[in-house]
């Protein structure tokens, strides 16, 4: 049975939505989530991003990518938060953008979404943050990620 916009709004209206249950709406909910992500209600947009991250599939990654380009920090923060739920194979492109975000909260959640196995490109970004990140807790988190991946916490020297 097709999922309606009203059904999607209904599961996201609560102060504390139950995302595991809401995710059972499945991929048919994604077009409606896109509408909410592109809308003016940042609370609903943020929740829509989180739900999108809980629905398996490449189209979810597209919505998180859309959210990562939002002008609204709350929506980008939600995208970075939700990135942890994406398969590692589709997470990298999103992380590369989010790790460069101007917003501290976005960078924090992006760092937290970095998978145990770090690609060279992501590792380079994280390594750069371990030196340049303005907030000490995020610098420390960056270094932990680099150490966890078995490398140095220094960015590669330019050749």
């Amino acid at each position: 049975m097709a999922v309606t916009f009203k059904q999607v709004v209904e599961v996201l209206d609560p102060d504390e939505p139950e995302y595991a249950s809401a995710a059972t709406l499945g991929p048919d909910a994604l077009p409606h989530l896109r509408t909410l992500i592109e809308g003016d209600d940042r609370a609903m947009a943020s929740k829509a991003v989180v739900l999108a991250g809980r629905i398996p599939g490449e189209r979810s990654a597209e919505l998180l990518s859309l959210a990562a380009g939002s002008r609204e920090p709350a929506v980008r923060v939600a995208a970075a938060f939700a990135a942890r739920n994406l398969p590692e194979t589709v997470r990298e492109d999103l992380l590369l953008r989010l790790l460069e975000d101007s917003d501290l909260g976005v960078r924090k959640f992006a760092l937290k979404a970095v998978p145990p196995t770090v690609s060279p490109a992501v590792r380079t970004k994280v390594s750069a943050l371990s030196e340049s990140e303005e907030h000490p807790a995020l610098r420390e988190l960056s270094r932990t990620i680099i150490a966890r991946s078995g490398g140095s916490d220094r960015p590669p020297r330019p050749s």
Partner: protein, 431 residues
């Protein structure tokens, strides 16, 4: 807890209200309001907060002469009142009496005028009734009444003023009959409540009041603590332009939720509005809400809080919950953050420590809803869709799980079983 009853009426004058000032602070503030804003003390009351004497006052714009005296013995008060009348034409307009150092003391505020005027103190209950009736026939109306205990006897004092309006004195009412009788007098005779005082008789709280004829709009309100009093007073001014003209404060045990507001980021809806809304709905359960402290927390890395999957507390939630400055046993911290991805708010016990978080985009009622959870209230309409066993939404209830932003009949309801649960919670402290 100091609870209060305020009387408000329509009017177009500049008005100001102060409370919780010590004697010197009250004198200074009264003088400042006179000097800088031309405001005259209209009404005042004094009460004890812990072991400290405190004063509350209502001021209004005007151009009359004005005087305030305090800490007078009964004899001195009567003599001073007569002298101010004889020498300066000042009439006693408001008074209060209190015990300090074992002595019955008096305070009064006076204003210039041309009306007839009388002060009677140390009257028995029957005497004040008989005198007020007799003086009524002579064209003097009782405008203020106070009661106190002298040599084990309940005594009464009254201020009279010349006039030809309808007037009624109510004595020894319990709260229900006070509320009913003042409403009946308004409905049947057009009499407006103008003065009220509360006192104890044989271990029971009683109210005395004066109602008079008039054509102004009037509203009285009851508040569960002084913050509640100030908030309701301000709201009635903002929304209905009603001016405070009289009030009575008294000490009474009130189940109270004591909040510690800890702000990382100011929310879209002002915190004071959320607290006021919470007070409104909790007051329907007879529970007061008091903001015990306010603190700004500079924790940039926690402004966007990692709430994980809600199954267990995240490291960030644990860190945030550890900021408990000033929070005593059975008191509740509330943390205002910028984002909590996917949530408007949450209530958690971490290592047995209660607390809640509210995101910047939360609704008017999210704070009250989350505190409701901490007081053991579950959602009233779970399970929710898309669960096949979902029940209909109850959007007129505070504890709806379908989104407090959709509440349809503000203030939302608390049902009897919820009130019972809240009153049994250790976080509604009798104070």
């Amino acid at each position: 807890m100091i609870v209060g009853l305020g009387i408000k009426r329509t009017g177009d004058w500049t008005s100001s209200f102060v409370q919780d000032l010590d004697t010197q602070g009250f004198l200074k503030r009264t003088q400042e309001l006179f000097d800088k804003r031309g405001l005259r003390l209209l009404y005042f009351t004094t009460y004890m907060s812990g072991r400290q004497r405190r004063w509350a006052g209502v001021y209004r714009s005007g151009n009359w002469g004005h005087r305030f005296i305090h800490d007078m013995s009964s004899d001195t008060f009567v003599k001073t009142t007569q002298k101010l009348f004889d020498d300066e034409g000042l009439r006693l307009e408001a008074m209060d009496t209190y015990v300090q150092g074992g002595k019955q003391l008096w305070a009064g505020s006076y204003r210039s005028g041309d009306w007839g005027h009388r002060l009677h103190i140390d009257r028995s209950r029957q005497a004040i009734i008989d005198e007020s009736n007799a003086l009524h026939k002579q064209g003097l109306r009782l405008t203020t009444v106070r009661t106190y205990v002298k040599n084990g006897q309940q005594m009464w004092a009254g201020i009279y003023r010349s006039g030809n309006w309808g007037n009624r004195l109510l004595l020894d009412r319990d709260f229900a009959s006070f509320a009913k009788d003042t409403q009946d007098l308004f409905d049947t005779e057009g009499l407006r409540l103008v003065d009220v005082t509360s006192y104890m008789v044989d271990g029971k709280r009683r109210w005395a009041a004066i109602c008079r004829s008039g054509d102004w709009g009037i509203r009285w309100f009851f508040a569960l603590n002084r913050q509640h009093f100030a908030a309701v007073n301000q709201a009635l001014f903002d929304e209905q332009k009603l001016r405070l003209t009289a009030m009575s404060y008294w000490d009474q045990l009130v189940p109270t939720v004591r909040l510690h507001v800890k702000t990382l980021v100011e929310p879209d809806i002002p915190i004071d509005t959320m607290v006021a809304n919470m007070r409104t709905v909790f007051a329907t359960a007879g529970i007061g809400v008091e903001v015990a402290s306010r603190e700004s927390l500079s924790l940039p890395a926690l402004e966007d809080l990692d709430v994980g999957e809600l199954s267990e507390a995240t490291e960030e939630e644990q860190e945030l919950w550890s900021h408990r400055n000033n929070v005593e046993t059975n008191e509740l911290p509330v943390y205002f953050v910028r984002n909590a991805p996917g949530l408007n708010g949450e209530a958690l016990f971490i290592d047995g420590q209660p607390g809640c978080m509210v995101a910047s985009y939360a609704s008017n009622w999210t704070l009250a809803h989350e505190i409701g959870h901490l007081l053991d209230l579950p959602h009233c309409d779970d399970p929710k869709p898309p669960d096949p066993n979902a029940v209909p939404a109850l959007l007129d209830r505070l504890m709806t799980g379908r989104g407090t932003g959709k509440i349809t009949n503000p203030p939302p309801d608390l049902i009897k079983s919820e009130v019972t649960e809240m009153l049994a919670s250790k976080y509604s402290i009798d104070s």
